[in-house]
Amino acid sequence: MSVKKEFFKGLVDKNPVMVLGIGLCPALAVTTSVSNALWMMLATTFVLTCSNILVSLVKNIIPAHVRIPVFITIIATFVTVVEIVLKAYQPEVYTSLGIFIPLIVVNCMILGRAEEFASRNGVFMSIVDALGMGIGFGLTLTVLAFFRETLGANKLFGYTLIPGFEPAGIMTVAPGAFITLGLMLWAMNSIMTSRKKH
């Protein structure tokens, strides 16, 4: 088990959104702008790292049959921390991410990593795993948000890109999110199959 392998698996081979198909609700909902996607990545990676650390520390104390409620409580605690901190220091981010901050609790990715990785491995490896998964999740969100913000609002980080270009508003609402992610998955599948042939 090498550090490098555990870190990069979250980015490519086991990318939560593109390969495993989990954590899709925030991926579709908050990607209306790149800055929202980056804040979501930060919040989710923070919760994931902290919960992985704590779960791997207490893994031997928790009886097996109550582990899921314990994991959920641990995750919910860190989500509350994120909620309070964002509300106090970044009220704009707090309003634009809206209910998707409390909903980090039910991001299956976090519970999945606690169950699958942190409850079976040491603290250091759990941190590496959490960072890899969190960044892999966030990068997918950022790419999706890049397409949606540039095409749907003609903006990037709030700055207008091409003056006079009429943006396709559909990209900033739900249908645009579904279709863009569908096309991204199509592109990824095409790359994978063409690689296998060679």
Partner: protein, 199 residues
């Protein structure tokens, strides 16, 4: 007067603000269980059931515990634990009371704990100010029920289309998830037509 409020909430949660297709909540079960119409219906009814009960119980928890003792910041922790317990209790109750229903819904119930639409409806009940208003309990109930019906509707539409897709000639790389997302996008585009409606 009051009837109009409830009808507006019901209609808007089912069609205008459909939880799956316009608010992108509960996408994991929406994609995971929509391969067959039978299991889609089972999941949909289980979600209606749990959402309505969860709305009622989180109403009492929020109003009489969190608000009264001024510990609103514990909302996320309280709600997720309540929802997880409700799902467990509902599962045990159905198992005891109606084994037939349990066989139909049983396998879907544990999955509902991590359905973000259930926590979503509980949080939205708070955020939209329903809990502190006069008819709070009824309003939260209607919103929970409506959200569940909207979920069932989206799931049934999707599973109907996906059953047909199995015989369709789809390009190899588009099979599976990509085409499902694109169809979900087109469905959600159709639901945007309701957005202009108002009472």
């Amino acid at each position: 007067m009051e009837i109009k409020i409830f009808l507006t909430i019901l209609f808007s949660t089912i069609f205008i603000n459909n939880y799956v297709l316009s608010q992108t909540l509960g996408i994991c079960p929406f994609l995971g269980v929509s391969k067959k119409t039978d299991s889609a219906a089972g999941m949909g009814f289980a979600v209606i059931f749990v959402m309505t009960i969860a709305s009622i119980i989180t109403y009492f928890i929020y109003k009489y515990i969190l608000l009264r003792y001024d510990i609103v910041y514990l909302r996320t922790i309280a709600f997720i634990l309540v929802i997880a317990s409700i799902v467990q209790l509902v599962e045990m109750a159905i198992n005891k009371l109606s084994p037939v229903l349990y066989r139909a819904l049983g396998i879907f119930l544990p999955l509902i704990t991590t359905n973000c639409a259930v926590l979503g409806v509980a949080v939205l009940n708070v955020e939209s100010g329903f809990i502190t208003s006069e008819y709070g309990l009824l309003m939260t109930m209607v919103q929970g029920f409506g959200a569940g019906v909207g979920f069932l509707l989206a799931l049934m539409l999707m599973s109907g289309i996906r059953e047909r897709l199995e015989t369709a000639d789809i390009p190899f790389n588009l099979k599976g998830m990509p085409i499902t997302f694109i169809i979900a996008g087109l469905l959600s585009l159709a639901f945007m037509g309701f957005a202009g409606m108002s009472f």
